[in-house]
């Protein structure tokens, strides 16, 4: 795992010095993180990256994982989808299983700490033990919450409102709640395989492997083959662009073999591609981080034409590589792209095509947007900012009064 000092070349030692200032106010504070999985998925990745760094800063941060049977995880997956906006009917049996699993975890776990930090809906009902355990309780919602299914939200809200504070990733996820809602955006790690600097040889080797022409502009969207990422819309926009600019399109995402919907989307994309030799559909195995990094770095324009989005960290990844981005104004994307300053926000296939053409044909403008984007990510979406926000969140619970807190 990287040490904190390795980030100095990206954010400056002044920023790291300040992290130590905040941490010094949290020396005797114990924080217990609880989520539902130790590996796989965004939350586990965040905790894996953040916890060692918080510990290096001298904060007593722990991480526990709840246990549950297959049925429990089926229910929480369904709950996750319903909170994402899909309709979902929950039987009493399912609700009972969810509550009983939380109850048995509460019995088996050593719930402790000055701050109990619960991630996502799976362990949310542990809050029933708040009075007994004491401490301050945080509920961190990592998922897109802009249009949750009403019934499941009504059920969950009853538990959420027992927490001291809730945390959301984007302003559009905020709800009407009786407890404070804090905005903490996720972050990218500049030292990870997906974001670290790559040599030109490595980038060229990846292009060669996928048979891309490095002498013609490449337009890329990195995302799984999912209706919500609108890959068909991306292909249609690209075909409009190509009427006036010679370029290539890369749609790269995880393999869809175990996801029936993914296979269906891929089939639809293939239909609209019509064997066009300049459109590359790349099905990448998991852990293709270097390949994704190289494809982003080789691109002239990066797209994220999603119809719905959680936070959309692929945008931050592209901006960090100083790439001009064309994206939809959904989820956390407007936080990352200030329209016409750090990228372009579009709302239609035609608008996306026009924006891509503008950027391919006006390189100084594209370069400026990319450079602005990199600076924006450096200040706001790197892991060091995330560490700062976590520490401020902890401090906000220790010092709950006043708009201005002098420490």
């Amino acid at each position: 795992m990287p040490e904190l000092k390795e980030y100095a070349k990206y954010v400056g030692s002044d920023v790291l010095d300040e992290l130590e200032l905040y941490a010094a106010k949290l020396k005797n504070v114990t924080v217990q993180n609880i989520n539902s999985t130790a590996v796989g998925g965004g939350v586990a990745e965040i905790l894996t990256n953040m916890i060692p760094l918080l510990q290096e800063l001298g904060i007593n941060v722990k991480w526990d994982v709840i246990k549950g049977g297959e049925k429990f995880f089926e229910i929480t997956k369904k709950m996750h989808n319903a909170l994402h906006g899909q309709e979902g009917n929950f039987s009493q049996e399912e609700i009972d299983n969810y509550l009983e699993t939380n109850e048995s975890n509460a019995n088996q776990m050593n719930l402790h700490g000055d701050i109990i930090y619960i991630h996502d809906p799976q362990p949310c009902a542990l809050i029933k033990r708040k009075q007994e355990v004491g401490g301050k309780w945080i509920w961190r919602c990592h998922i897109d919450f802009s249009r949750p299914d009403k019934l499941i939200w009504k059920f969950l809200k009853e538990y959420v409102e027992k927490y001291d504070v809730s945390v959301f990733s984007a302003p559009s996820f905020a709800r009407e709640l009786t407890i404070p809602q804090v905005l903490i955006a996720p972050s990218i790690d500049p030292l990870s395989d997906k974001n670290k600097d790559l040599s030109q040889e490595t980038i060229d080797a990846v292009l060669e492997r996928f048979k891309l022409d490095k002498n013609r502009p490449i337009v890329t969207q990195i995302s799984r083959f999912d209706y919500l990422k609108d890959p068909v819309g991306v292909v249609k926009a690209f075909k409009q662009v190509r009427k006036s600019v010679d370029c290539q399109l890369v749609l790269a995402g995880g393999e869809a073999t175990d996801d029936p919907e993914g296979a269906q989307v891929l089939a639809e994309v293939r239909e609209v591609v019509e064997n066009d030799p300049d459109i590359f559909l790349l099905l990448l195995p998991p852990a293709s981080n270097i390949e994704i990094n190289a494809l982003q770095r080789a691109s002239s324009v990066v797209l994220q034409k999603s119809l719905r989005e959680g936070f959309g960290l692929t945008v931050a990844e592209a901006l960090w590589k100083a790439k001009p981005v064309v994206a939809s104004a959904v989820g956390g994307i407007p936080l990352q792209v200030a329209h016409k300053y750090s990228g372009l926000l579009t709302h239609s296939i035609e608008g996306t095509a026009f924006a891509i053409k503008q950027l391919l044909q006006n390189q100084p403008y594209a370069k400026k947007l990319g450079e602005n984007g990199r600076e924006h990510v450096r200040k706001n979406f790197l892991i060091t900012r995330h560490l700062r926000d976590y520490m401020l969140l902890f401090l906000s619970l220790i010092y709950p009064e006043g708009d201005v807190v002098h420490l």
Binding site: A329, H339, L392, D403, V405, H406
Partner: protein
């Protein structure tokens, strides 16, 4: 002035935790209603975080309201009016709020059509508010040389706190106040004050302050030799 009488300058830094209010606006009337209703910590956030978060945009719109009105609602005239609001004129958040309300109401009266403008879905104005945490840093200076060294090393957040937020604590600019009152460097203090910090990035501002002090130190050395 002998150094034994000098009040040392303590550099502080300030970080904000951002809270979501759950309220949003899709047009100018809703924006105005939010500005009127929400607490001053919301006015503070929307007028004070922009420069830090989007400092690469300088000298573009220095606050959230101006950016949203100009680039999302596409009302360039009102956007420009809010953008050009000189926050240095105001010593309280209440005054800032009243002035913004006055400008928006005058604009709506002048041009009722602006009420029809609406933000595209997903680009609504989300009202937020902030809580500030102020930390003392290890940087303390007793003279101009030490001040220069500190200024080179503190974070941009510290510079922001002492230059931009000082007005809300009743001081024009903490640096110039200290330079004048503790070091008797009145001309240097005036030069600091003359700068319009809103037209610079924070890193640039640091460079300019540094250069001004270095020039002053050179003058002192030349005067002695």
């Amino acid at each position: 002035m002998s150094e034994s009488h000098i009040e040392p300058f303590h550099f502080y830094t300030r970080q904000n935790l951002i809270y979501l209010t759950g309220k949003k606006a899709k047009n100018i009337s809703e924006l105005l209603a939010g500005i009127k209703e929400l607490p001053l910590s919301s006015i503070y956030h929307h007028t004070h975080h922009y420069l830090e978060q989007f400092e690469f945009l300088t000298p573009e719109p220095p606050n959230d309201y101006a950016y949203w009105i100009k680039d999302i609602l596409q009302d360039r005239l009102l956007g420009e009016e809010i953008a050009s609001l000189d926050l240095r004129q105001f010593s309280t958040l209440e005054e800032i709020r009243n002035k913004i309300i006055e400008i928006i109401e005058a604009s709506v009266e002048r041009n009722a059509e602006s009420l029809q403008r609406s933000a595209p879905p997903g680009e609504e104005f989300y009202f937020k508010k902030a809580r500030s945490f102020i930390f003392p840093t290890k940087y303390i200076s007793n003279n101009l040389n030490e001040f220069l060294e500190c200024l080179k090393n503190v974070s941009i957040y510290s510079i922001y706190y002492h230059v931009f937020e000082s007005r809300l604590r009743g001081s024009n600019n903490d640096f110039s106040t200290w330079l004048a009152s503790s070091l008797n460097e009145t001309e240097l203090a005036r030069e600091f004050l003359r700068l319009d910090p809103y037209s610079q990035t924070l890193d640039n501002l640091r460079k300019i302050f540094t250069r001004l002090i270095e020039n002053r130190l050179k003058e002192n050395t030349n005067a002695r030799t």
